[in-house]
Symmetry: C2
Subunit: 248 residues, 2 copies
């Protein structure tokens, strides 16, 4: 957790693994404990919010503080459990800083799963799943989400397609030139399970592009006349999908 | 220019100040010269593209190389001059890394002007205009734009409003809770001069919010139920504006 972090909502929220309920206690993880003790200088009685992805959001207070540990206790539920729309982001891994950024922004923009895919033109093959999960967790805490997005293991492109779940529609950010503008292409499309699929810098190769377009329920879209970096394309498509089909 | 830069379009494009025309010569700036000589190891006869914001895009070749300088010569115009839609981004300055990111992404997303505004809750008051201009120029080179966005001097919020240009509509990213979802709010709005206006972390204060909403042609919009960081809100609003009103 960045020490200079300003919580956009002005409220400290932590994700914990423990079950949450009236009087339930939770011990935050190492990163969170460091933040509570050494950045926030938390004292007994301080208030914060907790969520665990299952039990809704709870107001809690600090009930024990030692040199190395805080104990938090739930006081009351402030929101029932809810989830983001069923939207995945499938993206080709990119170098570290943009990948960190994509994970953070996709989490804020309400993605349920991040799925790295290895394509022929993918330059970065190593994916630091632990780092991605830490970024997603922190962004979920700050964005007010009640779930942390699932960070899937990277899969080769062919396997992604052969195992593609039945009925999950695709917004394909297609640099091929004949795709319709995204707002027009998404107009009057149904909600339900969707994925935004973006390629690496340089795009999908022609065989991959054809295979992707041959899947059922694929909507190729154009994001405009300019050339977008891979991370920009992903975030622009997610924002437009949320505006047109998601929560608006 | 980052040395590890992958040009998304696979083509080297440089912005120069010189007039461009058949046989015209241009000497790139220091940053560009360093890139040509020491990263690309350019030789006489190498091809690239040039633009200057006025004369369209030209294919050019390297005609002289010395230890410290390259000379480029225009061979033919490959695109006439064009501009992005008349969209500004008005934003409260944020700490360095997100600001760099906002400038880069806003340039890719086709903003004509970036206008920093100092609000009551703005935490970062110092704005490095030179750094912003360098980021905008580099992003313009890479995105295929034929113009570099104008980086305006920061203005206090009151002056921004008192000098607001007649007829320029505003998409106001409003955290106040009663704004309509952005796609619905922008539906059937006219094109023409627009600005996306986003506040600092923590939002505009109530007086600023009321003053902004009292301007003519202001459309308050909601970006969904989650709390977005200031930089995410700016980019999401720009992407949706381009999809719904801009170039699609």
């Amino acid at each position: 957790m960045s020490e200079d972090l300003v919580y956009p909502g002005g409220k400290l929220r932590l994700f914990v693994d423990a079950a949450l309920g009236q009087g339930a206690r939770a011990i935050p993880g190492d990163r969170q404990t460091h933040y509570l003790l050494h950045v926030m200088r938390s004292k007994i009685g301080d208030r914060l919010s907790l969520f665990n992805g299952r039990d809704g959001e709870w107001s809690a207070t600090v009930v024990e503080v030692s040199k190395r540990q805080c104990v938090l206790e739930c006081r009351g539920q402030v929101a029932p459990q809810s989830d983001v729309p069923d939207l995945w982001l499938v993206f080709a891994p990119i170098k570290r800083t943009p990948a960190d950024y994509v994970v953070q922004k996709a989490t804020e923009l309400g993605v349920r799963r991040l799925q790295p895919v290895i394509t022929r033109r993918t330059i970065v093959h190593r994916v630091n799943g632990e780092r991605m999960r830490a970024n997603a967790l922190e962004a979920a805490e700050q964005s007010g989400r009640l779930t942390v997005p699932d960070i899937a293991e990277p899969v080769p492109f062919a396997r992604l397609l052969s195992e593609w779940p039945h009925g999950r529609r695709i917004v394909f950010c297609d640099e091929g030139g004949d795709a319709r503008p995204i707002a027009e292409a998404l107009r009057d499309q149904p909600s339900g399970p969707w994925a935004v699929v973006t390629g690496p810098e340089g795009g999908f190769d022609p065989g991959e592009r054809a295979a992707l377009r041959a899947l059922p329920h694929v909507t190729p879209v154009s994001l405009g006349v300019r050339i977008l970096r891979a991370d920009t394309a992903a975030l622009a498509a997610l924002a437009v999908w949320q505006a047109c089909i998601g929560e608006g």
